[in-house]
Amino acid sequence: MTSIPPANAPTPDDDNAVDVIDDITSKEQVKARPKPRTEVPLASGGHRLRKLLTSRVASLAAIVIAVLWTIPTAGLFINSIRPEADIRSSGWWTFPFNPNVTLDTYNYVLYSTGSSGGLVNYFVNSLVITIPAVLFPVAFASMAAYALAWINFRGATWLFIGIFALQIVPIQMALIPLLSFFSQGLTIGELTVIPAWNLSGSQTFIQIWIAHTIFGLPLATFLLHNFVSELPRDVMEAARVDGASHSVIFRKIVLPLITPALASIAIFQFLWVWNDFLVGLVFGGGPATQPLTVRLADMAGTWGDGWTRLPAAAFISILIPLLVFALLQRFFVRGLLAGSVKG
C-alpha cells in the first residue's frame, strides 16, 4: 500500500449498464456522491511522472487482486467441463493447450443412479427447503418490524434491542435442544405439553423450515426495522387520523412501500438458506430432504473414486446463487449496506 491513486473525475463510462453496485451506492448516497474532484495544479514534471507511476502501480495492484479472486472459481468451471482423464492427469491451466470439452460429467452427476449421481433430487430438495424458508421469516419479520417501529407500546425499544441481541446465540447452541424438541416433544416433569413430532422421510422438510425460520428471524427483523422505521412519519400519522387500523396500515401502506427492502432481505435469506450446510446436515432426514450442500460435502469428504466429478457437482450447487447474485446484485447490496453501515 504505497499511495492512493489520483481520483479520476467520473467519466460517462462509469454509468454504463453493468455498473450495478456503483449505481446502487450512488443512489443510496446521492448527497454524498463526491463532486468531480478537481486536481490541485501539479508543481513540476517530476511530480507528474511520480503520480503517473503510482497510478500505474495502483491499477496493476487492483488487477492482480481481481485476478486472484476470480481464478479459483474459473479453475473449477474449466475443470467441470473437461473429460475425466484430463482432470485426473493435468491441471486446468493446461486447458488452452488441450481443449477437450464435455458435458458428460454434468449429465452423470445430475441424472445417474451411480454413487456420485442423482444430484437433481438434491437440487429439488434445496428448492423445496429454500422457498418456504425464505417466505416465513421475511413475512414474520416484517410484521414484527412494523410493530416495533410504529405501534408505540411500552418496551418497544428494549424488545427490539433484545431481538437484535439474539444474534449472540450461535446456531450451535440451539441445535441439540431443538433437535430433541422435534424428536421427543416437550415434557415438563411427567406432563407431556407437546408430543413428539415423529417426522420421517420427506416430512423432515418441516423441521428444516422451522429451524431456518428461527435462525433467520433476528437479522431479518433487524434489517427490516431499519427500513420500516424510516418511512415518513406524516404518511403514517395521516393514515391514523383517517381511522386506519394498524392492520390496514401494515397491509395497504407499509408493505407496498417496503417492497424493495423485502426483496433485499429475501435475497439475503435465500443465499443464506441455499448455501447453508449445518442446518441441513442436522435437521435433514437423509437423501429425501438433504440439500445439495450436504451431498456435496459428503462427496468431498470421501474424496473417493468420484472426485473427478466434484467440479461439476460443485458448480451445479453454486449456479443458482451465482445467477441470483448476478441478476439481483443491487438488492443484495442495498440490504448489506442497510445492515452494516447503519448497524
Binding site: D14, V282, L296, A297, V341
Partner: protein
C-alpha cells in the same frame, strides 16, 4: 411438500392478518402489538432462548445427559491437548480473518475508487459471497491438492514446482493447514469488506478531501488522516461482522479436512462431539464457549445500536 409449505404459509399469514384486524377493531394497542409480534416472539423464544438455556444446563452433564458433572466438560476443553489446539485454531481464525479481509478489502476499495469499470472490479471480488462455504471448500481443495512428482493438478503446488520447490501435502501440515483454510474464508469475506468500505469512501464529503489537498497533504497523509478517520464506523462494522462469521465457522473445516490434522475449531468440534461421538455434554460446553466468545462483540454492537436509537428518538 413444497405445496404443503406454501399452503401453510398462506394459511398462517391470512389467520394472523385476520386476527390483527379483529384485535385492531377493539382498539387495544397492546393486543395489536402482541398479534404482530407473536410469530417472532414464539419462534425465537422456543427456538433460541429456551434451547440456549438448555444447552447451558446440558454443558454440565456427561455424554448420556444423566449425570451432573459440574465443570468437568469445561475442564476438558481447557486441559485436553486436542481441545487446546481447537481453541488456538479458533483464535487464529478470529484474529487473522477479519484483519486481512478488511485490510485487503479496504486497499482494493481505495485502488478502484472512481476507476473506470469500478463496478466490474467490485463484482469480481464480491462474487465469492454468493458461493456456499461448502462450494468454496471444494474449489480450494482442488487448489491445495497434492500428488507426488512434478505433474500437479493443484495450483498451489504447481506454483511451488514452477519455482523449483517440492510439492507438499499442505492440508496435513499444522499450522499451514489452518492458515490455508483461513485463506478460504478471507477469499469469501473480502468482497463484503470491499462493498461496504467502498460505499463509505463515496460518503466522504469532497470538500474535506479538497481541503486536505489544498493544505498540501501528501496522498499518504490524506489517506491516514482524512480517509481512515472518516470511514472508521464502517471499518468497525466490517471487522465485527467478519469476526462473528469466523467464530461460527463450521462448513469449511468440515468439508476440507473434517477437523483432522489438528485443523479443528470450536464450532466444528461442537458438532463432532455432540452428533458423531455422542458426547452431548462436551458439545454443549463447546457451544457455551462459543457463546461466551461472541458476547463481547455483540455487546459492543448493542451498545452502538442503543446510542443510535437514543439519538433518533
Amino acid at each position: 411438500m413444497l405445496g404443503l409449505g406454501l399452503a401453510a404459509f398462506i394459511l398462517v399469514i391470512v389467520v394472523l392478518l385476520a386476527l390483527a384486524e379483529l384485535v385492531a377493531k377493539r382498539g387495544s394497542k397492546a393486543l395489536t402489538a402482541a398479534v404482530f409480534l407473536a410469530p417472532v416472539g414464539l419462534l425465537l423464544g422456543a427456538g433460541l432462548v429456551v434451547p440456549a438455556a438448555r444447552t447451558l444446563g446440558l454443558s454440565m452433564f456427561d455424554g448420556s445427559g444423566e449425570n451432573f458433572v459440574w465443570f468437568a466438560n469445561f475442564q476438558w476443553i481447557f486441559t485436553d491437548s486436542g481441545a487446546q489446539i481447537i481453541l488456538l485454531n479458533t483464535l487464529l481464525w478470529v484474529v487473522l480473518t477479519p484483519l486481512i479481509a478488511t485490510g485487503i478489502g479496504l486497499l482494493y476499495a481505495v485502488l478502484i475508487d472512481g476507476k473506470r469499470g469500478e463496478a466490474i472490479y467490485k463484482s469480481l471480488v464480491f462474487m465469492p459471497m454468493a458461493i456456499s462455504f461448502v462450494g468454496a471448500a471444494v474449489i480450494w481443495r482442488f487448489i491445495y491438492d497434492h500428488r507426488g512428482g512434478t505433474d500437479q493438478i493443484g495450483l498451489l503446488n504447481q506454483v511451488v514446482v514452477w519455482l523449483g520447490g517440492e510439492p507438499q501435502a499442505w492440508l496435513q501440515m499444522w499450522p499451514w493447514n489452518t492458515l490455508l483454510l483461513i485463506v478460504v474464508l478471507i477469499w469469501v469475506q473480502t468482497g463484503f469488506a470491499t462493498v461496504v468500505l467502498s460505499a463509505a469512501l463515496k460518503g466522504i464529503p469532497a470538500e474535506i478531501q479538497e481541503a486536505a489537498r489544498i493544505d498540501g497533504a501528501t496522498p499518504w497523509q490524506e489517506f491516514w488522516r482524512v480517509t481512515i478517520p472518516s470511514i472508521r464506523p464502517a471499518i468497525i462494522v466490517v471487522v465485527v461482522t467478519i469476526s462473528i462469521a469466523s467464530l461460527k465457522l463450521f462448513d469449511i473445516v468440515r468439508t476440507m479436512t473434517g477437523g483432522q490434522f489438528r485443523t479443528g475449531v470450536v464450532a466444528d468440534s461442537m458438532w463432532f462431539q455432540a452428533f458423531r461421538l455422542g458426547e452431548a455434554g462436551r458439545g454443549a460446553a463447546l457451544a457455551v464457549v462459543l457463546f461466551i466468545m461472541v458476547i463481547p462483540i455483540v455487546a459492543y454492537q448493542v451498545h452502538n445500536l442503543k446510542r443510535r436509537q437514543e439519538e433518533t428518538r
